[in-house]
């Protein structure tokens, strides 16, 4: 990952801007890293990409006129991640977002609890989802973003956030419950 080298040094950031940046943007470094980690599924690449995103944020900071700093930063992180994926792993972005899912019978809370009561299985199930499903779940469940923030970060219309989440959750449930039986037998 050489991207973090280009344009190094946001020399346009003056001292008072830096103080504002530290106050408003830097506290969301965890959020930035977490989103990158789940989009790229790999800590080392995420560290590079998150660093690059922070540099970009520095460079664009003049254009930030208050408001939701976390959503503003996460939007940059997401774009940086997608640019990186396009360049390094284009295949991952080709999965269909609008793929129609058959309406599946509801999974019972108990069955789901058994399937998901395992950190690694949950990680793998999340990672098998297409990035566009994964990101809405990460933003909603890990970051606690509102629909409005999710729309701003992912550039999907606010009216479709709800259905995107509905489909993402359904995908996650089926990934969890389908992987469960083999996992269980392997663990025995």
């Amino acid at each position: 990952m050489s991207g973090s080298d280009q344009g190094r040094g946001p020399d346009v950031l003056e001292v008072q801007d830096r103080a504002r940046f530290e106050q408003l943007v830097l506290p969301h470094l965890d959020a930035a890293f977490n989103l990158a980690r789940w989009l790229l599924r790999n800590r080392a690449d995420s560290e590079d990409v998150a660093q690059e995103a922070m540099l970009r944020a520095c460079r664009f900071f003049r254009g930030f006129h208050g408001g939701d700093a976390r959503a503003w930063l996460l939007q940059i992180v997401r774009n940086t991640c997608y640019t990186w994926l396009e360049k390094n792993r284009p295949v991952e972005l080709m999965s269909e977002f609008d793929e129609e899912l058959h309406q599946q019978p509801s999974v019972s809370p108990e069955a789901l609890a058994i399937a998901g009561d395992n950190r690694e299985r949950l990680t793998r199930a999340l990672e098998t989802l297409p990035p566009r499903f994964r990101e809405v779940l990460v933003l909603r469940e890990f970051e606690g973003c509102s629909y409005k923030e999710i729309a701003a970060i992912t550039a999907i219309p606010i009216g479709t956030v709800m259905s995107a989440l509905a489909r993402a959750r359904q995908r996650l449930q089926s990934a969890l419950t389908h992987s469960a039986p083999q996992e269980a037998s392997r663990e025995l």
């Binding site: 001292v15 890293f33 809370p109 789901l112 779940l137």
Partner: protein, 250 residues
């Protein structure tokens, strides 16, 4: 309301994104639709599974350092070129930023530097824990049960001690999220009151037990000791809270 549309509306309801009219409409529907009731239960358990999974990955120290270095390098090269009058403007600007952010974002009070969570987040976490079924993930009065329970669930091991003899009964522990970080919550009972002690790792130096903070009728005591940040919060009298803080501090 057809069940197809409900499948989507259900998520808006779950996420608290419906307006009052639509939420009430959905609740009426929920009374008569078994399928939706089951689906809602499933979604709720999926949510708590995700939120309690500890899968949130915080930024590694190396990244934090690199970003700081990037910022520092940028600012120091600029600082040298700033004429004296700009420094005054800067000081004024910083004062404004500091005072504005103090009102907008009141951190848990602390003499050295602020805690990595806000007073509002702290009180929210405490109130949330008091809702039915939320208080403990592991319910036990035995510190040797509670402590190992945290193993593998957090990137640090919180110190777990029972003070039954001193009147603070350890009733269990749980994972919680505070200021966007995974934290350990130790739960103590003082007479009929619940005290949550949030514990998370810190790189800041030790501090004494800070004066009490107060918000919405809840009081807290905050301190740092041996690489851990502690915040004890409850509706008990501050003297009780301080007593527990001192026991934990030892």
């Amino acid at each position: 309301m057809s069940c197809d549309s409900t499948r989507t509306v259900l998520h808006g309801y779950l996420d608290g994104e419906l307006d009052a009219t639509r939420a009430a409409e959905f609740e009426r529907h929920l009374e008569n639709c078994r399928e939706c009731a089951v689906a809602l239960g499933t979604e709720e358990s999926l949510r708590s599974m995700l939120q309690r999974s500890g899968l949130y990955e915080t930024a590694p120290v190396s990244l934090r350092k690199k970003v700081r270095a990037d910022l520092g390098a940028a600012a120091s090269s600029v600082a040298l070129r700033i004429p004296a009058w700009r420094w005054l403007a800067l000081a004024a600007a910083l004062l404004v930023v500091a005072s504005v952010s103090w009102y907008a974002w009141p951190r848990v009070q602390n003499s050295a530097s602020s805690a990595p969570f806000t007073a509002a987040e702290l009180v929210d976490a405490h109130v949330r824990s008091l809702q039915p079924g939320h208080l403990t993930d592991v319910a036990s009065t035995d510190q040797h049960t509670v402590k190992p329970w945290f193993n593998g669930k957090l990137a640090f091991v919180p110190p777990v001690k029972d003070f039954t003899d001193e009147g603070f009964v350890l009733i269990g522990g749980r994972l919680d999220v505070l200021g966007g970080q995974n934290v350990a919550a130790l739960v103590y009972a003082r007479r009929k009151h619940v005290i949550n002690v949030f514990v998370l790792p810190t790189k800041e130096p030790d501090t004494p037990i800070h004066p009490p903070g107060l918000r919405q009728g809840y009081q807290w005591r905050h301190w740092r000791r041996q690489g851990m940040e502690y915040c004890a919060i409850s509706d008990v009298a501050d003297s009780d809270l301080y007593e527990l803080a001192q026991l934990l501090y030892q």
